[in-house]
């Protein structure tokens, strides 16, 4: 689709500002009512989904041009999808997140990208990662684990570490633990090591679509060659790419997040806990595992009207509204760990507050990114948690960095970390 | 004959114009400390056309007008002219009940309709008005509502001005005007035929015109009819008396009732006031005062047209439980008073003599708005000041009335005194002034600023005063309406 294809939606936006808040039914307090970090931080209405519809329409109609402010509006957005969920509480014929992503892609196409993003994308082209690191160092996180190397071997399951877990020294343990858990549970699992490349998800959300397509082509080829039928990853960004974007370009592999797999293994008694982890924790739903982690449903169709002026789609169009994301498996895992007490924040599941790391914001707008993460840290502390636990290394990195400046001692873990402590 | 008098006679008829010394004397003073001032003439218009002509004439001739609707006695100085040569416009002849609409529970009344006249007529239709505490039988209902006298049942006051709804009035500039939903193209009869009923007060459009004449002491215009919201006449009506040694003890319980909107009549009286209300024999008021508990919370529970017994029964049980949780008792009788007699008293206008005058022949009221939780503090302040002035604390009447569903509270002190004793009168004057100043300092909001309260209240709020004067300049540009009241000081000669 092109931006013009969203013009009808821009004109059909309710102008209600529900995109600013979490679903109103779910609001429990004044403090934690907001859903969109972008408008909460930047304040101008332009920074909400509603505002971006209006900005996009203004550009399309030739009423305004690209300015620094326009770029600021377009890029100071985590593409977390909170707006999409809230909008779709009532609207069945708007796709605000898709329109926001399309707007971004349009800017990139028109050479209106950010220098901070260009640096990353240039590096991606050369070294196939988003961490500004050499590709040759990618597989080092798995040294000593004795995991199948799918560059030369085959396996049913590939564990895809992702860029962050491959290179972030503090977080690599999560990848090590995850793949070891799979291995020890008897799963036929392998890794691509230094042949693993970026999934392309973060580039996509920055507006670089062809980079995702290229990544998909590379990885799908590698998986096919390795006989892979299931992809498991501990990164929510990668999860979303594999689950929702890759099928658009022909992928047919089963996609699971590590927490889904572990949840399965626990319920099958293939993982047994022997130690207690006495800790009060709260779980942060990563955007791309939660509301953007819904199953993919292929669709190609057209808009039509019924009852004279009701907008529907033929055939029936899938509705991604966050309802069917991955919410319960990580919670079930945490609840099953002896000693762990799970408390919930106010904004959870499909209406969770973003970690702040997504869509190139961490790289281009570190203050905004840190602010978003700090909001979440405060929410976790407010819930009475000693630790915030997530299932995405980008979330965890952002929380670790924000918590360090807060000084209130909130710990940050991955679900897998606590599982390994209990085994 | 004076040509001005001639013109007035032509406007409203000879029989409606009075300037005999006795009549003028009667309007020259009231029970307040307002400086006596004789009006020039008293007129009795009978319809809105006559009122309009009078106002237009007053504008042409720069003649001050003082509207009066209620019969005597008057207490707050608002009906005593503040300037010379005023015309008192007495609306008591405009005393028609224009309509009682049972289905919509609305009554349309002229300003001369008094409580003694209205309540029995409403009762015939199964209705009643939410009335203030023992108004005079000849008290104008419209005037009482315009003055924002607090009604007994706070749960019926969604709007602060409830039950007052729409008005027809003549503004000080001579314009006849209707407010609220009454602004419609047709006559009243035509609107009623269309099923309209003058129910909604706001407006029309972007101005709440009716608020501009409320508590205005006749300084903005003259109301010629009003629609008022009525309540169902209870089929069963029980009253409960909750005695207490101190007002503090019943505050939390009262708040609970207000929050749940349980009970109907809800007011706190001290023994002195309840005795004055109940005791017909003046000499026995002190005796009854001694018998009664110091404070009495009065709670009414009404059963209306739907399942009345059940309503009264469940509320009685719930309120009793709530009272017990607060260490209080719901009683049908207390030493000196039975609930039934109190109920009868408060549901009816005052007998003659007016209940507040019974004890000593005269009295001064100090009343203001505050919040319920602050009232015990004000009681302490009033007592301390009374003591300092040598006024017997036991004689102070206290009436505390939650208003606007509990958002605010009317706090009233009644100071009976013998006006035939100059020394006592002087002491009361000093006490009244001093107490008003101290209470204001401690947070009393004189929202109905009669007499000396006007300067006190308006000096405290310069911006409101400025805007109010602008409003006055719009609706009464020639300042003919009761000059000298509120912040509208007459220009120097």
């Amino acid at each position: 689709m092109a931006l013009e294809d969203y013009q009808a939606e821009m004109e059909r936006c309710s102008q209600c500002s529900y995109c600013t808040w979490i679903p109103l039914d779910r609001i429990k307090s004044w403090r934690f009512a907001k859903g969109c970090p972008s408008v909460a931080y930047n304040h101008f209405q332009s920074y909400s989904a509603r505002g971006r519809y209006a900005v996009a329409l203004s550009l399309l109609q030739g009423k305004s041009e690209y300015t620094d402010k326009v770029l600021d509006i377009v890029y100071k957005c985590h593409t977390c999808g909170s707006c999409d969920v809230s909008c779709k509480i009532c609207r069945y014929n708007l796709e605000p997140l898709a329109a926001i992503l399309e707007l971004r892609a349009k800017l990139v196409e028109d050479s209106q990208s950010l220098p901070e993003h260009r640096v990353l994308i240039d590096h991606l082209h050369k070294e196939q990662n988003m961490m500004l690191k050499p590709k040759t160092a990618r597989g080092r996180w798995a040294e000593g684990l004795n995991i199948k190397d799918l560059a030369t071997e085959t396996a049913e399951v590939v564990f895809h570490a992702g860029c962050r877990l491959s290179y972030d020294a503090q977080l690599q343990k999560t990848a090590r633990t995850a793949v070891a858990l799979l291995r020890d549970a008897g799963v036929d699992v392998g890794i691509l090591g230094d042949k693993e490349t970026c999934c392309g998800s973060r580039a996509y959300t920055m507006g670089y679509r062809k980079e995702l397509t290229n990544s998909a082509a590379r990885l799908m080829k590698a998986w096919t060659r390795a006989g892979v039928t299931t992809v498991v990853t501990s990164c929510a960004d990668c999860y979303h790419a594999f689950k929702r974007r890759y099928p658009e370009v022909g992928a047919t592999v089963e996609v699971l997040h590590t927490v889904e797999f572990i949840d399965r293994l626990i319920k099958q008694d293939k993982i047994k806990f022997t130690r207690a982890v006495p800790l009060t924790v709260t779980y942060h739903d990563p955007c791309h595992l939660g509301r953007q982690g819904e199953p993919y449903v292929p669709w190609k169709g057209i808009e039509k009207k019924i009852r004279k002026q009701i907008i529907v789609y033929e055939p029936r169009r899938p509705r991604y509204n966050g309802a069917w994301g991955v919410y319960d498996p990580p919670r079930d895992v945490l609840r099953s760990i002896p000693g762990v007490k799970l408390v919930e924040m106010e904004r959870i599941r499909e209406y969770a507050w973003c970690c702040g790391a997504g869509a190139g914001v961490r790289e281009a707008y570190p203050d905004f990114s840190r602010w978003t993460a700090t909001e979440r840290i405060e929410e976790a502390s407010h819930a009475g948690a000693e630790a915030i636990v997530s299932a995405c290394p980008w979330c965890e990195r952002n929380f670790i960095d924000a918590a360090a400046t807060q000084g209130d001692g909130l710990k940050v873990f991955d679900v897998v970390d606590l599982v390994s402590q209990a085994i | 004959m004076n040509s001005k008098k001639q013109i007035l006679m032509e406007i409203i008829g000879k029989e409606n114009v009075f300037d005999d010394p006795e009549t003028l004397e009667a309007y020259s003073r009231d029970y307040s400390f307002a400086l006596p001032m004789k009006p020039w003439i008293v007129v009795y218009p009978e319809n809105v056309g006559a009122v309009q002509k009078i106002v237009q004439w007053a504008n042409r001739t720069q003649t001050p007008l003082v509207p009066v609707s209620s019969g005597p006695p008057h207490f707050y100085g608002d009906t005593v002219p503040s300037v010379a040569s005023a015309v008192v416009v007495n609306l008591s002849k405009m005393n028609r009940i224009l309509r009682i609409d049972r289905r919509n529970r609305m009554a349309l009344i002229e300003p001369g309709v008094a409580y003694g006249q209205l309540q029995p007529e409403l009762a015939k239709e199964g209705l009643k008005l939410n009335t203030p505490l023992l108004p005079r039988a000849n008290k104008s209902v419209v005037a009482s509502l315009l003055e924002r006298q607090p009604p007994l049942v706070p749960r019926y006051q969604w709007a602060f001005l409830d039950p007052l709804r729409c008005l027809e009035l003549v503004w000080g500039d001579g314009q006849v005007f209707t407010t609220g939903e009454a602004e419609r193209p047709g006559s009243l009869e035509e609107e009623w035929a269309k099923k309209l009923a003058q129910v909604a007060a706001p407006g029309p459009h972007q101005t709440d015109f009716y608020k501009l004449v409320s508590a205005a002491q006749g300084s903005m215009g003259i109301v010629t009819w009003a629609s008022v919201k009525c309540q169902m006449l209870p089929e069963i009506h029980k009253l409960f008396l909750i005695p207490s040694e101190r007002p503090e003890n019943i505050i939390d319980f009262t708040y609970q009732l207000l929050r749940f909107r349980f009970g109907d009549e809800l007011l706190l009286l001290n023994r002195s006031n309840l005795a004055s209300i109940l005791e017909a024999d003046t000499d026995q008021i002190s005796v009854l005062t001694e018998k009664l508990p110091p404070w009495i919370l009065v709670v009414g529970v009404a059963g209306l047209s739907i399942l009345p017994e059940e309503r009264v029964a469940f509320q009685e049980k719930d309120i009793t439980e709530m009272a017990h949780q607060n260490g209080l008792q719901l009683l049908q009788g207390i030493p000196g008073a039975k609930a039934d007699e109190v109920l009868h008293a408060i549901l009816n206008p005052s007998r003659d003599p007016f209940w507040k005058l019974k004890f000593q022949g005269n009295m001064q009221d100090i009343f203001f708005l505050t919040t319920l939780d602050k009232t015990p503090g004000f009681v302490r302040i009033m007592r301390a000041i009374a003591e300092a002035h040598g006024y017997p604390v036991s004689e102070i009447g206290v009436y505390i009335q939650p208003v606007h569903q509990g958002a605010g509270c009317h706090c009233e002190f009644n100071l009976p005194f013998n006006h035939n004793d100059p020394a006592e009168t002087s002491r009361i004057r000093g006490l009244f002034t001093r107490a008003s100043e101290e209470l204001l300092k401690e947070g009393a909001f004189f929202s109905r600023p009669y007499g000396i309260w006007a300067d006190m209240a308006f000096k405290r709020d310069i911006q409101t005063t400025t805007v109010l004067k602008k409003i006055k300049g719009i609706f009464d540009p020639n300042h003919v309406m009761n000059p000298g009241k509120l912040c509208f000081h007459p220009p120097s000669p």
Partner: protein, 553 residues
């Protein structure tokens, strides 16, 4: 033309660089499409409100005052809005500074005993409700839903809603008010002005704030309201609304002292009789003809879609054919929704009995199909939180309302069927959604204690579609004519026509004056003109505050 640099600098110095913008794209995001829902005028295809000169986000009343003074000095117009969800909050001419009030979003105080909250303009109904519920209290929420600003509703527009019967109308709930007047002075009304707190909105003496409220409020044309106190009401429920379910089919599982029913009646007279008896009895917490917004023929199907997270609008056609759905629609033809909330177990027991008694007397009944737990729980949440008012636009993004018939129930019920038939004829023409003619939604109450009903006939259209939009405009013109012919009071569809016209700008003076002169009492607007001259001498406000020149005598 951009603002002169020294003016821009003065404004920037007031609010800070971060809180001002004149970027064209930003300004366009503060421009409102009058196609989509202009609120009681139009719709006008491909017309937008004019761009402001700049948009500012003040953080304090002092900043607001400074801005107002700058506007006075440089003859700029001013338009403030809290949530920007209707055309009233937008400029109607060039040369306007826009204020986005969202930074002033604090709940400053909740007085639990005296039952009021003090709020800033950026507070929305939901957050106020969430905070007050923690204390066993609740707030009136207007019909446009809880994403709106209670301060804005109380001061600047209508303020009616489903809970009016119990919780009063916007006007009734407004206590003290802090107001930066158009002349740059700050007025604090009632007890607040005397430094005595927020509890009383009137006095000393007359209620000065009467000059900015009325039925429809100041509509953003009389300065800026920076704080107000709002009356609160009891909430006999848990401190947090217990919401469950899969999006979007959220529901609230409340204790037994809460009940939600859909009541239906054999005749419109019985419907009206029931309203009166409910008010006479003093029962009910919320009462509204709510789900009719979807249309007589579509509402049961829409409820099915909204309560099933696997369904979408695509399922509508099939569902509408379902015999059970058809039967439910027929049963609910003359309906409204009611929520009972008992303060105590005995209270809810009595209210339930009283309601049954009233139904027996009037021949009404509780619609069983709406009593299924998942639907009742959904309805309870819907009506209490009113967080789904975006559904007004569910079909295609365009909605506006016509008729209205604001007044006692006997007025609306007299005309309900002829209005339905009239709308059906227009639905058949194709520009608006074919929903069954009766999309009439409105409060059962209208004000505290009851007394009025409203019958806003929702008209759904596609703002992207020129024919649909222009056809809707034609329909609304026809509604006005129809009402005149039938003796129905003037409808809502043109309430704001005197203020703004087809080009998105102020209605031309001559046209406006002609309209206002034809109203039953033009003197209203003569006085409003004088009020405006007195407090807005430099004409900062636009024609949403209506004025009329008095003819020379």
């Amino acid at each position: 033309m951009a603002l002169l640099r020294d003016i821009y600098q003065a404004l920037e110095d007031t609010v800070g660089e971060r809180n001002i913008s004149e970027d064209p794209a930003v300004l366009d995001s503060y421009s409102y499409p009058l196609t989509q829902t202009a609120i009681h005028m139009g719709p006008f295809y491909d017309v937008y409100t004019p761009r402001g000169k700049a948009v500012l986000m003040p953080g304090t009343p002092q900043e607001v005052q400074a801005i107002v003074r700058i506007c006075n000095r440089y003859n700029l117009k001013l338009k403030a809005s809290s949530t920007f969800w209707s055309a009233m909050g937008y400029p109607s001419g060039e040369n306007t500074i826009q204020l986005d009030m969202r930074r002033m979003d604090r709940i400053l105080e909740i007085d639990e005993k005296n039952l009021f909250a003090v709020i800033e303009p950026g507070v929305i109904g939901t957050t106020l409700q969430a905070e007050t519920m923690k204390l066993g209290l609740n707030t009136h929420i207007i019909g446009a839903g809880s994403s709106c600003s209670p301060l804005a509703s109380a001061t600047s527009y209508n303020g009616a809603g489903p809970d009016c019967m119990f919780m009063g109308f916007g006007d009734e709930n407004l206590l003290g008010l802090e107001w930066v007047m158009p002349d740059g002075e700050i007025l604090r009304t009632g007890s607040l002005g005397s430094g005595l707190g927020w509890f009383c909105g009137e006095g000393p003496g007359p209620g000065v704030r009467g000059i900015i409220r009325g039925v429809v409020g100041a509509k953003g044309a009389m300065g800026v309201f920076t704080k107000c106190a709002i009356k609160l009401y009891p909430w006999p429920g848990p401190p947090e609304l217990p919401v469950e379910g899969t999006a979007p089919a959220y529901k609230a599982v409340l204790p037994d002292n809460f009940k939600a029913y859909t009541l239906a009646f054999p005749t419109w007279k019985a419907w009206a009789d029931c309203c009166y008896q409910i008010w006479d009895a003093g029962i009910g917490y919320i009462a509204h003809r709510q789900f009719s917004l979807f249309g007589r023929e579509l509402k049961a199907a829409m409820i099915k879609i909204l309560t099933d997270p696997t369904k979408t609008l695509y399922d509508l056609e099939e569902l509408v054919q379902d015999p059970e759905i058809k039967k439910l629609n027929e049963e609910m033809k003359r309906d409204f929704q009611i929520v009972l909330a008992g303060m105590t177990p005995r209270d809810i027991e009595w209210q339930n009995k009283a309601l049954d008694h009233i139904l027996a007397e009037t021949g009404g009944w509780k619609v069983t199909g709406m009593n299924k737990p998942e639907i009742q729980q959904w309805a309870l949440l819907y009506l209490i939180r009113l967080g789904h008012k975006n559904l007004n636009l569910v079909y295609g993004g365009g909605y506006d309302g016509c008729f209205g018939m604001v007044g006692p129930p006997d007025l609306g019920t007299t005309h309900a069927e002829e209005v339905t038939k009239f709308k059906c004829e227009w639905e058949n023409k194709g520009a608006i959604v074919d929903a069954g003619g009766d999309c009439m939604i409105g409060g059962i109450g209208g004000m505290g204690g009851g007394g009025g009903t409203m019958w806003e006939n929702f008209t759904h259209f596609d703002p992207h579609d020129k024919e649909s939009t222009e056809g809707t405009f034609d329909f609304f013109e026809a509604c006005s004519r129809f009402a005149r012919e039938k003796g129905i009071p003037p409808g809502m569809e043109r309430w704001n026509a005197p203020s703004r016209g087809a080009d998105g700008r102020e209605t031309p003076t001559e046209k406006r004056e002609h309209m206002l002169s034809a109203t039953p009492q033009p003197a209203v607007f003569y006085y409003q003109r004088k009020i405006k001259e007195a407090i807005d001498p430099n004409n900062l406000g636009d024609a949403y505050y209506l004025t009329l020149k008095e003819p020379k005598k």
